[in-house]
Symmetry: C2
Subunit: 354 residues, 2 copies
């Protein structure tokens, strides 16, 4: 697996549309997630027509991976192309909303890297824009959507394998890799804070696995524990949630993946149900197996270890394409995508700095 910065899981191509039916473009290559976003959509049948970024070096690298993508001369050239149905973007977090508003104003759907916003004011603008236009502002919550074990956990819960979900604990350690990071990564106003950034994955998983439609933030914490050379970096964040259905949750996100871990982070999710529990070891089964996607399930009937890498796929992308074509919400509702961001932004805002 690549570093988290250019995390681009490969699945089996399972096109949901014929070639050329769903054309997309990539605008904003600031975060390497753009590779995973485009790859997921292409595997589901999308055709990547354009790429645009102000930095030609990023465009060249991107075209190596996606040779079919033509470089546009400007963002507006892409937005003016009526063939483009959806624009995928991984701009600097603080600029993601402005890009999305322009994309939707151009009559296209928008698919942005997480965190989709750095302020609640941006979120309100996006909500208003979507309400006004019926455009989509979808979010690449990759730590669930592009992780087969995380998809499988959703299927297990749906099947009732652990009964009512009571609690979700998520751990999202990431490798800092500071020398490879751009300047904005260390500027709070631009990256938005650790909870608004990588915490959004965690909130999204809490809402998804518990089925809550909303949640209160019971507490939040952020810290710069060990990186005084980057005073605006938050290297640690945590928050506790109470869902509107009574489920509770907690997450910890951090930039403390140690050097000897052979992947970018030992991401885990522990899901406690009334009748069993699930543990996800998403990117490694630490000191056991370096493969991804290990799922542990214990309920009243049995105790299981499932290694699901390559067995589940990533249904989100095909569903998103069909949602865009059919104006449905099977991949993810707009309300859910926004709510996860809203809760993360609120947790970020109230977080105690320790």
């Amino acid at each position: 697996m690549r570093d988290g910065m250019t995390y681009a899981p490969k699945g089996r191509p399972q096109p949901v549309v014929k070639p050329g039916v769903f054309k997309i473009a990539a605008i904003g290559l600031d975060h390497g997630h753009i590779y995973g976003m485009c790859n997921g959509l292409i595997e589901a049948g999308a055709e990547l027509k354009w790429v645009y970024d102000a930095d030609p070096v990023k465009v060249r690298a991107f075209q190596k991976e996606f040779p079919g993508a033509q470089e546009a001369r400007s963002r507006d050239e892409v937005l003016a192309d009526p063939e483009v149905k959806l624009v995928a973007g991984a701009a600097i977090p603080s600029e993601r909303c402005a890009l999305g508003l322009a994309v939707i104003d151009a009559g296209k759907d928008y698919f942005t890297d997480k965190g989709p916003f750095t302020t609640l004011a941006q979120l309100e603008l996006a909500r208003a824009k979507v309400a006004e236009t019926n455009g989509k502002y979808m979010v690449y919550y990759s730590e669930r959507l592009h992780v087969e074990s995380a998809v499988f956990a959703g299927q297990l819960i749906e099947e009732g394998a652990i009964g009512r979900v009571l609690h979700v604990a998520g751990f999202g350690p990431h490798r800092l890799n500071a020398p490879a990071r751009p300047a904005w990564f260390f500027q709070k106003e631009r990256y938005g804070g650790i909870i608004a950034d990588i915490g959004t994955h965690q909130v999204e998983q809490f809402l998804y696995y518990t089925g809550a439609k909303d949640a209160q933030v019971l507490h939040g914490v952020v810290a710069n524990y060990n990186h005084p050379e980057y005073p605006e970096l938050e290297d640690f964040g945590a928050a506790a949630l109470l869902g509107d259905n009574g489920a509770t949750g907690y997450f910890r996100v951090d930039w403390f993946t140690p050097d000897a871990l052979p992947t970018w982070g030992d991401g885990r999710v522990l899901i406690t149900g009334a009748d069993g529990y699930i543990e996800l070891r998403k990117y490694i089964d630490v000191a056991r197996e370096t493969t991804t996607d290990h799922v542990y399930l214990v309920n009243h009937e049995g105790m299981h270890h499932f290694h699901v890498a390559g067995k589940v796929g990533f249904p989100f992308f095909g569903q998103l394409i069909l949602d865009c074509l059919n104006r449905t919400e099977t991949a993810m509702t707009q309300a859910h995508a926004f709510k996860a961001a809203e809760i993360a932004l609120k947790a970020q805002a109230i977080a105690l700095k320790v």
Copy 2:
């Protein structure tokens, strides 16, 4: 391993005193932890002279395990025996303090099962008594003291294996086994609440691993999610802590161990340091190995899995005996034992009922 109710780990006998030098008694057999408490002390060289409980059935069962223990006719017969240096007790939680005050008033040290108190008022009485007499009110925080992986984690941290400890997440699921539980187990006033009870283990581990001397409770939650037939049972509890040294932590305790788990609970501790992390899989390595005491360590130098069952021992008990004889505090300071209880009681008191 036995059920959690009579959890009595066996170690290698490593006496720190000659036979007969350190005589102890057991008073209060309400919780099966008394077996582990006495066994730990006996392996460290204590001689178990007396046992007393109002229930002769409990005394008979206890004497089967500890045939050398003579049944006393009353609590006072034990307290009047000048040979007895320490009384171990696992009374009903709400009665643990009163027993302890009587033990200390009789000039002996007290070693109680956790939670050591069900109210902050009891804690204040015990603090005053200890200050007045210099007696010891020690607590069987078994989930660290009597778990080799947990002891080993302390040694790793002491050696600097993960650098400064930033965060401790503890998970203490327990099997409910309701039909085998006594009436008091379901009476809030007597068991004290889930955080004051099994949450004390978690708070103690937070303080120990982080080295914090005190902690704020950032939030607490308790719930009866799935046992309406026991209205006073809390089947779930959680809290977040902020140590006085800036470390943070979270724990979840519950009575949701599913039937198919071959032990009483999949207890875990995840310890995040500035230079690595440790995971403890204390009682099972779920769906991998049914043995206890699996320790995972990743730092900048390597990634390791240690299976430490039978290799570490339980130094607490010998240290406690020597502390009683020498009036030292090597096993655990009184301040630490009380502080863990205090924080748990505060978390219990402020916990949101969901």
